[in-house]
Symmetry: C2
């Protein structure tokens, strides 16, 4: 039987730590503040926002939600971003993506002030992740995966890590962060040959493909730790990860469930980034 790596435990520790840091910030006259920019009312965005608001309240971070029309013009969105850049009382800004078609997402990313980008949207943040420096902020979900591994003291240095997926929000940044932890990192994707064979060798397996239950018994070994970043809906309408949990769970060392795994940590990382961005304004 595998150890189940619950996200809540990680989030709780992070939250306690952040409550203290927020108190110190407030002693210094700084109220850490997050601006959320949401176009329309997409279900995924709303669900994430609810979680973020709840976590923010626990931690003591103020949130300004900019609820905008889904058909907002590029020009108007740019003005919102520029206003957020100019507002010294706002330390971090989360823009829900993907943005609707009429918006040039690349351009919005280039416009947001790097220091307020707490979700790996801007070139400055991405270059920081690529360089392995703390200058910017990594995408929150990618960092949540690493935070779980660290919390549960999974040995990363010298470990063989295999990342399934090469997206810019998870696969690539997770790979860079694992490299920073001195793992030997392999990045797999849809064109990888014998993907199960490659995965099977992993000490640490990160599943971030977005394909329900694709990680089967063929992918795993008894010493393996699996972080399941997938969020999919299966044929029966049930939320499920990229891992065939029931099949794999008895045969690996540890794994995160879906739900109650990575997703439970992401908003805590978001708050950590806002707090860090606020702390940097004091230095």
């Amino acid at each position: 039987m595998a150890k189940v790596l619950l996200g809540k435990e990680v989030a709780d520790v992070l939250t306690e730590e952040l409550i203290e840091r927020v108190a110190k910030l407030k002693d210094n006259g700084v109220e850490p503040t997050l601006a959320i920019v949401r176009l329309g009312a997409e279900a995924d965005d709303l669900s994430y926002e609810r979680g973020a608001l709840k976590r923010a309240e626990r931690v003591g971070v103020k949130v300004n939600v900019h609820e905008l029309a889904r058909d907002l013009s590029q020009e108007d969105l740019e003005q919102v971003i520029l206003d957020i850049n100019a507002d010294d009382s706002v330390h971090g800004c989360l823009v829900f993506r993907p943005l609707p078609q009429q918006i040039d997402e690349e351009k919005i990313g280039a416009m947001l002030a790097s220091k307020k980008d707490i979700d790996g949207f801007t070139d400055g943040s991405l270059a920081g992740v690529f360089k392995g420096e703390d200058s910017g902020f990594a995408p929150c979900t990618a960092e949540a995966a690493i935070a779980i591994l660290k919390h549960y003291n999974v040995e990363l240095s010298g470990a063989r890590a295999v990342v399934l997926g090469r997206s810019l929000v998870i696969g690539k940044p997770v790979a860079m962060m694992l490299l920073q932890e001195n793992s030997t990192v392999t990045i797999c994707h849809s064109r990888t040959k014998d993907i199960a064979v490659v995965a099977k060798d992993a000490d640490v397996l990160i599943a971030a493909v977005g394909q329900a239950k694709m990680v089967t018994l063929d992918f795993v070994n008894p010493e393996q730790v699996i972080i399941d970043v997938g969020i999919n809906v299966d044929d029966e309408g049930k939320l499920t990860g990229d891992v065939d949990y029931d099949a794999v769970e008895p045969e690996v060392k540890a794994l995160t469930p879906v739900p109650r795994g990575v997703g439970s940590v992401t908003t805590s990382i978001l708050m950590k980034h806002v707090v860090e961005a606020a702390e940097r304004t004091l230095n």
Copy 2:
């Protein structure tokens, strides 16, 4: 016996192509121009510069060499960079690195206009490499490694590529570019366990560690193609790569020599970047 992947052949093809593109640029009234910023007269810098000047002359790229004192102040170097940024007749800028200790290299990198950064120095260029976009320019040596593989029609899609080394100038960008070519990419480094075992599985092996002759017979297989990016001096004072060439050559499919391999292509890539930067000013 392995096929020897000579850099000259790749550079020659690139050069012919660039001569035509430069002619077109000049027809449009644009003389592609490279600014080289060199502090002092380090032997490595001078050697690279000589190669670059020769290649630039062949291709028809104008070069302005800013030969500055090795003990130049941060402030004075910043002014040089700002002047280059402001000079519309200059399309690309190569700053020799590492810069001396009194210089904040990070700050200089942040100051150089991204569009003129033809050697992967700025965050904009690095983010481009990380994203797999052509928005910026990759470090020239990393791109030279890929150019050789492509020139000799080495199958990259679905190939197992192993990169030895995780530097920001070679290892990491080469890994991202191989990923872009749909290879399954593994990044190894000094903390990798059983590095020879990992390397032995590779269809394509990139050696970029900077350790003379570290890639021995244990690292290779008969179907392997090796790109040797190392430039080291061995015990007898002879230039040598990261690969133990004499031992490995009979046992692999193809490999680059050192010298006459990757190093012969780098200045052609540099010129390609200057020409592209100049072409972009026309669009």
